[in-house]
């Protein structure tokens, strides 16, 4: 039996400059400059709508609230995730690049460190994004969840490196150097199959 639905799409409505959150039970999802904008799906065609929906669902299932921001002045995942963490009321953020690469960060960690890193974007699917969201929420609640099992495929690098490089170049072109992070509100829409 399959889900009786068509494709979902998402648009990110900008609502103003991103500020530091005051709720201790919130997780910030920080997306890259071209996420759900210039690009609409990851390197393996997971729709950005699904990435965001599953991250939000994982957080909500744990009873934690979420806020989405777009980082505009860098395409560096560590910088995006760490900035998100510094703006998060709980100090926990999920950083996501357009091609799918994802990181869990905490504001008191060094920028080039992280809580969990999912470096092989071609191996991330909806199920993994749900678990990442769930873990982010559990860190925000002060728990110590089991890290999301990372898959590994030694063929991922030779197979996907060229495409990843092109996607990164494109993302890089979308950088708006002197503009700060902005708060966005995701609006999901269901288009009939």
């Amino acid at each position: 039996m399959t889900t009786p639905a068509g494709e979902r799409t998402v648009s990110l409505r900008e609502t103003g400059p991103a500020r530091r959150g005051t709720r201790e039970d919130e997780v910030v999802i920080a997306v890259s400059p071209a996420f759900a904008g210039h690009f609409t799906k990851t390197i393996v065609d997971v729709p950005h709508a699904e990435v965001l929906r599953q991250l939000l669902a994982g957080i909500e299932e744990q009873g934690v609230t979420a806020r989405v921001i777009r980082v505009r002045d860098t395409a560096d995942l560590a910088a995006i995730a760490h900035l998100g963490a510094k703006l998060s009321g709980s100090g926990i953020a999920v950083g996501v690049l357009s091609r799918g690469t994802t990181m869990l960060h905490q504001k008191d960690l060094p920028r080039l460190s992280n809580l969990e890193l999912f470096p092989q974007s071609p191996l991330l699917d909806a199920e993994v994004f749900r678990k990442i969201g769930s873990n982010a929420a559990q860190y925000a609640k002060g728990e110590s969840p089991e890290p999301v099992p990372t898959r590994n495929d030694q063929m991922a690098r030779p197979r996907w490196q060229a495409k990843a490089a092109l996607l990164h170049l494109k993302e890089f072109e979308c950088i708006e150097a002197d503009r700060g992070p902005i708060e966005v509100e995701p609006a999901f829409e269901l288009s009939p199959a």
């Binding site: 399959t2 889900t3 669902a57 909500e60 299932e61 744990q62």
Partner: protein, 471 residues
Amino acid sequence: MRLVVGVDVGNTTTEACLARVGPEGAVTYLGTALMRTTGVKGTPENADGAVAAVRAVLARVGPLTDRLHAVLLNEATPVISGLAMETITETIITESTMIGHNPATPGGEGLGVGVTVPIGELLGDRRGAEGSLIVIVPHGWDFDDVAATLNAAVRDGVDVVAAVLAGDDAVLVTNRLEKPIPVVDEVAAVEKVPMGMLAAVEVAPPGRTIRTLSNSYGLATVFALDPAQTRQVSPVARALTGNRSAVVIRTPTGDVTDRLIPAGVLELRGAGKTLRVEVDAGADEIMATLARAQPLDDVHGEPGTHVGGMLAQVRDTMTDVTGQPASEIAIRDVLAVDTIVPAEVRGGLAGEVALEHAVALAAMVSTDRSRMQAVADRVAAQLGSSAGVGGVEGAMAVRGALTTPGVDRPVAVIDLGGGSTDAALLTAAGETTAVHVAGAGELVTKLIASELALDDREIAESVKRHPLAKV
């Protein structure tokens, strides 16, 4: 002035105690150090641990003008203890009678009683079922679609009272429902839930446990049972006690039962007789049989069972250590303790866990050969001082006890060690007798680890050493 170190090699730890001995035999205590015992107690491998302990105590006391004169070791009784744990009960669920696991995040709260129906039958024109319904959602359904389907059905007058989900979606679904219902999620084998059966779903508020389904009379009320049937469902109620959520399904021949698992026979020889006892009879029965076979000559386990394997392993270790053939090694004491271990329930739909009964066994082997002189020789070579075997443990313990002000003969000393418990008695006439019995600190650590389902021995050890409450 002479510096003397006394070393006590135990099953688990090696302790060194430094003292200055004056010209007239006056003893000044300087310090102690504790190290983990290297190798099996009473074997030459102990030397490394002993040397480390001696160096540690010297370092702790600080620079000394005198040279280390002598190291005195205990005459370690070669006692090897082995531990084994055997589960003797199991809980079996037949015909998917209940789902009693504890998902971290169930949704909604309250009790819903109705007939199980797959979510597919709520779509559009496929609706056939009437009355109160409990919706079963298989894998692959998105939470938004589940919520939309349920909302649409409720709007059309279908009486949906509860839902059971395969994925971890309960909170997501309940947050999107117009009419709140209890939702249990993470039911891995959801496809085994029988359809068209009367069932009940209960979810308690956060921090509470379910009330109705964990009570036999609550179940009787829900399913309109007569007294005989109520007695039958009591294992279901018991298995669900303490959960935040549960599902009970009334199937014609479904049942939850406890069963005894045969765990092997223990054969005790002593006092001229051979007694046999089933391990699944429990610790009390084993210890009662043991008491009738005192003094014990040897113990054997039924080959091919856990208890047989465990006793064989103790013998193997002893053979490796002493070089004596396995046939000459005799187990001189065993201690059995009843315990509980969490185990997965057979026939469960969501990886339910039940507390099962188990028996833990500690066994102890004595040999006639002690090899402490070999340890002493190695220690002497490494430290460049003289080293010798100072005396038998029991006798040393008693003499140590006598240094306590106000203590006089007769005196008894009980030494609760890691692998064995030793007792020594010094009579008024000056005779010392000592006994060793199986079962000590290591067994306690193992019991803590299994009852709390800890994988880490160090955590269990810490739990033992830092009790939250004392009786």
